[in-house]
């Protein structure tokens, strides 16, 4: 899932300072699961904004809504009438949702209320960790299902580097060294020989080097 984090309230207030009536739009997808952009987050942020604006003697009207997914036009279309009744939309979906809004309603000023962080999952309650960088050429088969591209600070394919100590990454002590984990996992699987050969340089063309990537699913074309 996509994991995102709320922007500071001051930054959000600055974005919408010129508007008297806005829509605060959440998303029922990933950001609901990670608490940053679901219906509850919409309700909380709306009340924070209203309170702050009231203190400034500059009241604001907010229409709250949380479509099933902000990243699909059909869910946005249902909200057309409300969207057209406001001066701006504050979106607390991930960056994908914000862009879907901006493209679907090109006349509307849509601003982000979240910082989109990564693809990951909750490793324990309320704690998410990054697990995939979307590099476009998955290596998990030979790494024992653990990703060095997203989880190693140097994206090493022939790790671990000399800074791996006691299972911890020298760059961020909160992180386990993924190469230590890969080693341990392959040892358990009896596949340590996966690490014996020099892994060739990665072809970064499948990654974000040529701008926007596209996938066409021919079988589903109408």
């Amino acid at each position: 899932m996509i994991v995102a984090d709320r922007k500071p309230l001051q930054e959000i207030l600055e974005y919408i300072k010129d508007y008297k009536k806005i829509m605060l739009m959440g998303c029922g997808g990933c950001v609901t699961v990670c608490f940053s952009g679901g219906a509850k987050a919409v309700e909380l942020l709306a009340s924070q904004i209203k309170m702050a604006r009231k203190e400034q003697g500059n009241d604001i009207e907010i229409i709250e809504c949380t479509p099933t997914r902000q990243c699909e036009y059909e869910f946005l279309e249902e909200l057309k009438k409300d969207v057209e009744s406001v001066e701006a939309v504050l979106s607390i979906a991930c960056g994908v949702g914000v862009q879907a809004m901006a493209v679907h309603f090109p006349e509307m000023h849509t601003v982000p209320g979240l910082n989109t962080k990564f693809m990951g999952y909750p490793v324990e309650h309320a704690l998410w960790e990054e697990k995939c960088a979307g590099c476009g050429d998955c290596v998990l088969e030979w790494t024992g299902g653990l990703c060095p591209i997203s989880r190693c600070a140097k994206k090493l394919l022939n790790g671990p580097c000399g800074g791996s100590a006691d299972g911890v990454c020298e760059v961020n002590k909160d992180n386990e060294c993924v190469w230590q984990l890969i080693y341990d996992r392959l040892k358990k699987l009896g596949k340590l020989e996966n690490l014996n050969q020099v892994r060739k340089p990665k072809d970064w063309r499948t990654s974000t080097n040529a701008g926007q990537r596209r996938i066409k699913f021919e079988e589903a074309m109408l």
Binding site: A153, K154, K155, L156, L157, N158, G159, P160, C161, G162, G163, S164, A165, D166, G167, V168, E170, V171, N172, C177, Q180, Y183, D184, L195, N196, Q197, V198, R199, K200, P201, W204
Partner: protein, 307 residues
Amino acid sequence: MKSGSKLEKVLTAGKFAITAELGPPQNANPEAIKKKAQHCLGVAEAVNITDNQTAIVRMSSIAAAAIAVSCGLEPVAQMVCRDRNRIAMQSDLLGAAALGIKNILCLSGDHQSFGNHPEAKNVYCLDSMQLISMVKQMRDEKTFISGDPIKEYEPKFFIGAVANPFADPFEFRVVRLAKKIQAGADFIQTQCIFDLDKFEKWMELVVKEGLHKKVYIMAGITPIRSSRALKYMKTEVAGMSIPDELIERMDAAEDPKEEGVNIACEMIERIKKIEGVSGLHLMPIGWESITPVILERTGLLPRPEVD
């Protein structure tokens, strides 16, 4: 000869080789290199010129290495994977060879979060293993990493790599060394050694695998001036092993500098007896003037003559 460098000649002649380290200045002053170079002339076969070590911006390692060449010193230009993609790296390798540089040391590089530009984006288009392999490909196959031919004047480097016997997982460290040899490393410089027992254990495994016959291993030595420096390394630098008795010995010393030199000399004497070690790499961080003193005391001066 792969490169014809003096370091290669001394090592292939089976002589115990010495390399030292020279950090370029944090400005554009060539005199800083020339001054430090004087400490190294006649003391070491070659001198490592670091590449923005600890991710602090300094004069380019290749530019500084070219200045070292002009002083009559043989450089080992360091190249890290942090700051350049494969295009820039190959371009710099061609430039380095054109400037008379014959030894290259390939490293991943310290992460930018440790330096003075933590906001920077890192590159790691290649990792250190792949960099070694690319330098070898350019030299031996006369092709770029893309497969395109290098039309004459291919860069001929004596290829160095590093090894840290003290990082984890310990049992993988020998495999990693074997991979660096497989990639094309001609010589290895180790992380600075304080825990000799652990280094000896690692070397035993290296010899057991016969790796010492495939690559020249140079043991890293850093003379220390205070117990504070040791304590700092123990707690702050990942992948270092520092025995407590060494700290106690430095704490108890009346003259810590002299004791630091004593320790370095004792370690060198022990290292000389370890099977499979082909030389020393001295990293006297900010204490370059001590290098000749230590080498003199351990009978490693004058340096051997090679043609």
